[in-house]
Symmetry: C2
Subunit: 439 residues, 2 copies
């Protein structure tokens, strides 16, 4: 029995939106066959109607606002590609759900802020809310966590969720260049914005992580309860020291269960050079999931770009095309929104792990003994110690020396206390650097 | 509206079956919440009723045969964990579908042989046929290819699909040991069977590959049209030579579209040491997918073991528990079975790629020139050439020398013709070795 075509409204016709329209047009016949139902874009909204988008919009209806498109009787699914946690995206998505439309969104900021409310609205109305493209672009991480791992309990999920940062860190390692030089390259290639703050300071990663955390632990999304540290203070010297000690530096988003609650943190991280996550180079993203039954899964692929993101959006649309009215809709966040656990934040100072510490010290007798005893006072045990001249200085030159310490597992509180004391002791010729280890 | 519990029949209570029963029992409450419906094992069949399986079977009904369980009115889903392409598994699965039961199977051999027929039977009856566990254990590769990538057209899919082989090859590389020594270790650890033929000669990989090929290209499953070569003739010398040239040797299953048809091949493969697939160590599996929209995805995780396999089986069951009678069932092989394309095999001799050639030659003047001209006659261009003494021989000792060639892209036919001529020329002191490259 042939069903009428699934009518799609697309709000936002940037790189992703126009790629989506192209794909749905070009592959119409194959998609109808695979999904058992045709899909057609019937309505769009975008700020500029005249821009050339290299896709055929001659047969679609233009709407003046996303909300008007969302409420239109001529669509069955509202695709939100506007971005931003507030309006017009937020109102338009609510409008769509209230009007009985399924929703597909790529908007991580919106979900980080309003995801639970939107999931509950969708559930109550028997509608689908899909958002595969919101985290890690083309990697099917939402489907994996929400569907494939339904019977698993996750211990930890972590990943490289921002291609801009990974590109910069990869270039710094490969070329021995400074952070600033690599950021400029990333900007020249279109991998970083003119104002890169949102990416390089970890906020984009934090938004994505908050969604994975909810799926992993069945708790409400809590994007404000994330410890966030970006990559802008990582130096070529850190990268070199990491390599010398068998590590790479990656900006990771990590969520894990601890005895005192859930840890969500985004920070530069030393990972062993042979770890799967260390192999992820350039703009590629990767997510690792550690769960009770399956063990560890790692998924990697393109985390951004028009086509890769449109691949995830169109996959979400195919799932809707394959569904039928009246059948149960699996909850958007993996369990009914009303049953999501409250979020219990573990204090960052209680974080337990290894640490890399780089100290630039004056070349005086007794400095090292003083530092070592400050560590010992806090019960911090050292796994390795390297002392060397500053980069480029001659072997016996006077002037600052570098001391690099790798600690065994200790706590954030102990490290912070030790570093404060070392600072007060007056041995440091430059601010200390501290990078967390992850295994 | 509460629905009655989904009643599950499990045929086969080996490692996977008993792990599944344990998981469904232990997590009953959480699964009911996540799926919106309880699941309960109501019936089982297995050869031995008295064996201690460390799972509670006190409330289930035992059936004498899988077919009797499959036909029982007391189950809604039949889980086939018997294995083997023929009976009793084949008849029991058909029996279940005829009796209107959904089917979940982990049986790659059955699907490789009868997958299209079973998919069609399920479709015609509006039933679900799920088989996530049949390929790459706990990795959600079926869900990814069948659902997440619906809008993509795949160019190539390849992977490490057999943990036994990857364990042996990893040990050979890490320890410099022989194939036989590493096989014995694998057997001692339970990673290899007493008769390891099925794993080490590539047949297990071929079964799994045939399923991925169908999902990738929308063609019927054709497990007989696979070129298969195992790892038992890989030597420590090959591993060492690979490393010296920046490669690792992996047993890959590869399916790709070519101008003349579909290539399906399983063979030891040289992969660049920095390629994602080269990082997969030990019993871990990995699959890479290259597709038109998303680009390249790589998924890795545990490919075998009771819990990891049961994770995939229980994920399949959760998808069924979330579904509702009367709603459309997405086709098991990604498109309706009747619309699957016929399989068009590309001849292996037409395979285009680079090759690693290791020749053990008598130490005579002119040997190298003779070999080089045999290669040139076939239009084969060489990317690198290494000549060295046999392992362990003193620098100036007489006796056989090793010549290692890496070719630029050429054809299987050209390589085979060149090697035949070189053989006939009488320079070889031992059989030649040829390993394909993959990038």
């Amino acid at each position: 029995m042939a069903q009428s075509a699934l009518r799609i409204g697309v709000a936002g016709l940037g790189t992703v939106g126009s790629a989506l329209v192209r794909i749905l047009d070009k592959k119409a016949a194959a998609l109808a066959e695979r999904c058992g139902r045709a899909m057609t874009v019937t309505g769009v909204s975008a700020r500029d109607r005249s821009r050339d988008r290299d896709c055929d919009l001659s047969k679609v209806t233009w709407f003046d606002t996303p909300a008007a498109l969302a409420a239109s009787d001529d669509i069955d699914v509202f695709v939100e590609l506007i971005g931003g946690e507030g309006d017009p995206a937020y109102s338009a998505v609510k409008q769509a759900l209230e009007a009985g439309k399924h929703v597909v969104t790529a908007n991580k900021a919106l979900l980080a802020r309003h995801g639970v409310e939107l999931a509950q609205m969708a559930e109550e109305r028997g509608l689908i809310l899909n958002f595969e493209a919101a985290v890690a672009g083309g990697i099917p991480i939402i489907k994996t966590m929400r569907e494939a791992l339904t019977s698993n309990d996750v211990f930890r999920v972590y990943g490289i969720l921002n291609g801009t940062c990974n590109y910069i860190l990869t270039r710094m390692e490969d070329e021995g260049l400074s952070y600033d030089a690599c950021l400029a390259q990333a900007q020249a290639l279109g991998y970083a914005e003119a104002d890169p703050t949102f990416d390089v300071e970890g906020y984009d990663t934090a938004h994505k992580l908050s969604i994975l955390t909810s799926l992993a632990f069945g708790s409400v999304i809590s994007a404000d309860d994330i410890y966030v540290e970006g990559i802008s203070n990582i130096t070529a010297e850190d990268i070199e020291a990491a390599r010398d000690m068998g590590y790479r530096i990656k900006l990771l988003g990590v969520a894990q269960k601890t005895a005192s609650g859930i840890e969500q943190r985004v920070h530069p991280t030393m990972v062993p050079v042979r770890a799967p996550i260390a192999q992820i180079a350039g703009v590629t993203n990767a997510v690792a999931i550690e769960a009770d039954i399956v063990g560890r899964l790692v998924l990697s692929g393109p985390g951004a770009g028009g086509d890769a993101t449109a691949s995830a959006v169109s996959g979400d649309l195919c799932d809707i095309a394959k569904s039928r009215p009246g059948h149960q809709i699996a909850p958007a966040l993996g369990k009914p929104a009303a049953l999501l656990a409250p979020y219990k934040r573990a204090a960052m100072r209680a974080h337990a792990g290894g640490y890399f510490i780089r100290l630039t010290v004056h070349d005086q007798t007794g400095v090292f003994a003083s530092i070592a005893s400050r560590m010992a006072e806090q019960g911090i045990s050292l796994a390795s110690i390297v002392q060397r001249r500053k980069n480029g200085a001659a072997e016996n030159a006077d002037g600052p020396q570098t001391i690099i310490l790798i600690t065994h597992e200790t706590t954030e509180q102990a490290i912070r206390d030790a570093l404060e004391k070392i600072e007060q002791d007056g041995h440091l010729a430059a601010p200390s650097q501290m990078i967390r280890l992850e295994h």
